[in-house]
């Protein structure tokens, strides 16, 4: 089965249900414009490969491996969208379809170069967040300061601090942002490896309150979204 097809399926499931939850076979078939019978067949094969968990009549959900793969694809897809709009000045309506095709062929090196050239974008033109890269750096300054061909890959799965539930803990792994903001967060105790917990979040994507080194700190959503952690229990 071609890699491109697998990735398309993973994306379809992700778009329908997000990270958790099940996507029905009919929904996937509709989205990919395929016959439900062949969709079932592909899903069964992907289940064998450990990319999805497929249960007949219920649908498919992403496994950890599937989730990792789809996050990488989404990152490439959204970076490409930014590239097509910002650099090549394509109209916004056209960028999605192009990016859908290109995302399967670019390699990690190109992905890293795109991220650097575009000035580390955080959102695609349609406003969806761009997931962090999986290069083993602690923050973006390191990437920007010199040309780094691909380094070691990160092993853990990172999520933004804003995805934590109140009371849940995590370890700071990677902060995306300018030098000043990263320095300030460090000064307030958010150094790499520090254990933090989410206290509460304000409604309508307002700021979050976190607890770090026994102190509570309020951080605006825009900054908090770029603090990536390894959540406890993952």
């Amino acid at each position: 089965m071609p890699q491109e097809q697998i990735e398309e399926y993973l994306e379809a499931i992700y778009d329908i249900t997000g990270i958790q939850g099940k996507a029905k076979t009919t929904e996937i078939a509709e989205r990919l414009k395929n016959a439900p019978a062949s969709v079932t067949e592909v899903l069964q094969r992907m289940d064998r490969d450990g990319l999805v968990k497929y249960e007949p009549y219920q649908g498919a959900s992403l496994t950890k491996r599937g989730e990792n793969t789809v996050t990488r694809i989404k990152r490439k897809h959204r970076l490409l969208e930014v590239f097509l709009e910002k650099v090549l000045h394509l109209p916004r309506e056209h960028v999605h379809d192009q990016a859908c095709k290109m995302e399967h062929v670019i390699n990690d090196e190109t992905e890293q170069a795109l991220c650097k050239t575009l000035g580390i974008p955080t959102e695609c033109p349609h406003g969806s967040p761009i997931p962090p890269c999986n290069i083993d750096v602690k923050n973006c300054n390191e990437c920007l300061s010199e040309y780094n061909p691909i380094k070691e890959k990160r092993k853990q799965k990172l999520t933004s601090i804003t995805t934590l539930k109140p009371g849940q803990k995590g370890k700071v792994e990677f902060i995306r942002g300018g030098r000043n903001v990263v320095q300030r967060l460090c000064d307030l105790g958010l150094t790499n490896g520090t254990c933090v917990s989410l206290v509460r979040e304000a409604p309508l994507k307002g700021p979050v309150e976190i607890c770090v080194r026994g102190c509570n700190v309020v951080i605006g959503r825009g900054i908090a979204d770029k603090i990536f952690i390894q959540a406890e229990g993952t």
Binding site: K138, E142, R184, D187, A202, P207, R213, C215, V217
Partner: protein
């Protein structure tokens, strides 16, 4: 003021009780000095202790010597360049790990230090016990436990500070040993630096160079660019080893040292139940109840101020009218109608509105409620391109625009500061409240006064939106410590309010008395009507107001609330209904509300954001007021 024998600077993180200690130590003789170049105010007080004159400086809160906001830069420059005899590092005992991070940096710089271990009572309640002796040993500086709000321990700080100032400290203290890979490079750099002297300790300079601290880099680079290049190479090597920038590596190591010290000196047991403050937080920061509570608090403050202020000025007026002497002759007329009436007017505004506001503000501030407002309002503030901290100066604006402009320094970027300053001049200050409530509220109806407030808030929102479009860039977003609730101390609140109130009384009272006398003189000599006639194309034709208001607008630049008092003086009658229709009163109040910041505010604007921006704000507000006033006059005339 006598020449001080020596100087003590209070420094530490925000919300650790520096100002409480300062207010306990010094009396009402506090002066607010200017920091040259940066125009940030630093509170200064004098204290006599054992026949010694001691100057005490209250520095703005600072988390790290690698500074972030303008306030922090001032603190750092003061400590580094003014060389106070002793720095009293006020430390929050409930959050030692974060506080010691800054202490370590002070020690690294070789500052003569005394540590005030504050909030030991709060720490005890949280189940935290700190071995003071061991801390003293580990850091090799005196530690004094204090409870600043109750005044416990504050004089021992001074005793220790005097002792500490008498000793000459060995400068390079090695409190922190970094990892070998960093130490090796610090040593290397120290050797390169041997011939360079910029007034700081060698080791500290070397570390700051590795951290790529822009100021130290500039200082060294000006004379020895080769040293900076060498430092860069070493810093890059460290970043390569740790896979993060060198400055972050150093911060991490400092935190590691801080954590190790805390582990050694502190015993803490997790309290069984959530603290009172935590329970209050879950209400006051709740997604629904938090907002409900905030609006209730704000509304009750406004209600209380208008009721209390109205009652007080009524009482004062009755008092003055009961002793109304029969006046004949020019000079007694000038003295009474000018001087005394002006005095009464200032007094009623000052005691009725401004002082109560500062008292309430002090309680909100010291209890720790203001940051909750910043948290709740952060999202709404984003719609006008600001973040939650902007609410604090805007809130100050309800009292007086001058401290509001000064308060805008908490905003991190120039752009954010500019927008916040502009908007804070539009917040109805207590002087404008007097005109709105005293004229429209009293003579037309409370609903119209409220309508004026609503118009003003809408205006702030719209202007915020426009400025957000005009000024390039995006707000950096909020990063702010959230302190727990604390019971404010009455003594500190009253003292703070009086200290804030004093400059107002000193500048406003003479101005308004002189102004009133001038107006009275002009009225008698008929110059008044000349000025008013000159302005009549705007006031009469466009705004539809009586001709005599022209002069009031001019005078309102000096003090806005004076416009109301002078209205009765100028019109020559106490019965305002006889000279102005309800529509005219509304238009008059609207124009007064928006048209131009008062003289004191303009002066503050010039200092804070430069004369060019101050002029832009002033003239655009005049234009806006005239435009809106004329439109309001025409619209309201249709159905009133």
């Amino acid at each position: 003021m006598q020449k001080p024998d020596f100087t003590i600077a209070l420094a530490g993180n925000a919300n650790v009780g520096k100002s409480s200690i300062f207010n306990q130590l010094t009396g009402l003789g506090q002066i607010v000095g200017n920091w040259p170049g940066k125009t940030v105010e630093i509170a200064e007080g004098l204290l006599v202790h054992h026949w010694k004159n001691i100057k005490v400086i209250d520095l703005p809160g600072i988390y790290s010597l690698s500074t972030y906001s303008q306030e922090e830069i001032v603190s750092r420059e003061y400590i580094a360049l003014e060389h106070p005899d002793v720095v009293v590092n006020v430390v929050d005992a409930t959050a030692l790990e974060r506080n010691l991070f800054f202490t370590l940096q002070l020690l690294e710089m070789g500052t003569p230090l005394v540590i005030a271990l504050n909030l030991v009572d709060a720490a005890k309640k949280k189940g935290i016990f700190i071995g003071k002796e061991r801390l003293q040993q580990l850091l090799d500086v005196p530690v004094v436990p204090t409870i600043a709000t109750k005044g416990i321990g504050v004089h021992e700080i001074i005793d220790e500070a005097i002792k500490q100032a008498a000793k000459k400290l060995p400068i390079d203290k090695n409190v922190i040993r970094y990892g070998p890979e960093i130490e090796k490079r610090i040593e290397k750099l120290e050797r390169v630096l041997a011939g360079v002297n910029i007034g700081y300790p060698l080791r500290w300079t070397a570390i700051k160079l590795l951290e790529e601290d822009s100021e130290i880099v500039n200082k060294v680079g000006a004379k020895h660019p080769d040293v900076v290049v060498a430092a860069n190479i070493l810093a890059t090597e460290i970043s390569k080893i740790h896979k993060e920038p060198c400055s972050n590596v150093i911060a991490s190591e400092r935190y590691a040292v801080s954590a190790r010290i805390v582990k050694e000196i502190q015993i803490s047991k997790e309290p069984a139940k959530a603290s009172m403050s935590e329970r209050l937080d879950s209400l006051s920061m709740h997604s629904i109840w938090g907002y409900a509570l905030m609006f209730t608090i704000m509304l009750s403050i406004l209600m209380f101020m208008s009721l209390f202020g109205g009652w007080l000025s009524e009482t004062l007026r009755n008092l003055f009218e009961s002793i109304n002497p029969h006046i004949t002759g020019l000079w007694p007329d000038l003295a009474w109608n000018g001087g005394i009436v002006g005095f009464y007017a200032t007094l009623s505004v000052a005691l009725g509105f401004i002082l109560p506001f500062y008292l309430i503000l002090g309680v909100l501030e010291d209890s720790g409620y203001l940051p909750k407002i910043a948290y709740l309002m952060d999202r709404p503030c984003h719609t006008i391109g600001l973040h939650g901290k902007a609410c604090i100066p805007l809130l100050l604006g309800f009292g007086c625009s001058v401290p509001a402009c000064v308060g805008c320094r908490i905003m991190e970027t120039k752009r954010d500061r500019l927008i916040t300053v502009f908007l804070s001049t539009l917040v109805p200050c207590s002087a404008r409240t007097v005109v709105i409530l005293g004229l429209v509220g009293a003579y037309v109806g409370v609903q119209w006064a409220i309508a004026l407030y609503v118009v003003d808030f809408m205006l702030i929102f719209i202007i915020g939106k426009i400025l957000n479009r005009l000024l390039p860039g995006v707000s950096v977003g909020i990063i702010m410590e959230m302190p727990p609730y604390r019971l404010p101390s009455g003594k500190v609140v009253v003292k703070q309010a009086l200290n804030r109130f004093k400059p107002f009384l000193i500048t406003a009272l003479p101005l308004i008395i002189i102004g009133s006398i001038v107006v009275e003189a002009m009225r008698i000599t008929n110059v008044l009507s000349l000025v008013s006639d000159a302005l009549s194309p705007v006031t009469v034709v466009w705004l539809g107001l009586p001709a005599f208001t022209g002069f009031l607008f001019i005078f309102g630049v000096i003090r806005k609330e004076a416009a109301l008092v002078l209205l009765t003086t100028t019109a020559g009658t106490l019965d305002i209904h006889a000279v102005m229709s309800p529509v005219q009163m509304i238009v008059f109040a609207l124009v007064i509300m928006i048209y131009v910041p008062c003289v004191a505010t303009i002066a503050a604007l010039i200092r804070e954001i430069g004369w060019k921006n101050a002029a832009i704000i002033t003239f655009s507000e005049i234009g806006l007021a005239v435009l809106l006033g004329g439109i309001t006059f025409r619209v309201l005339s249709l159905f009133m």
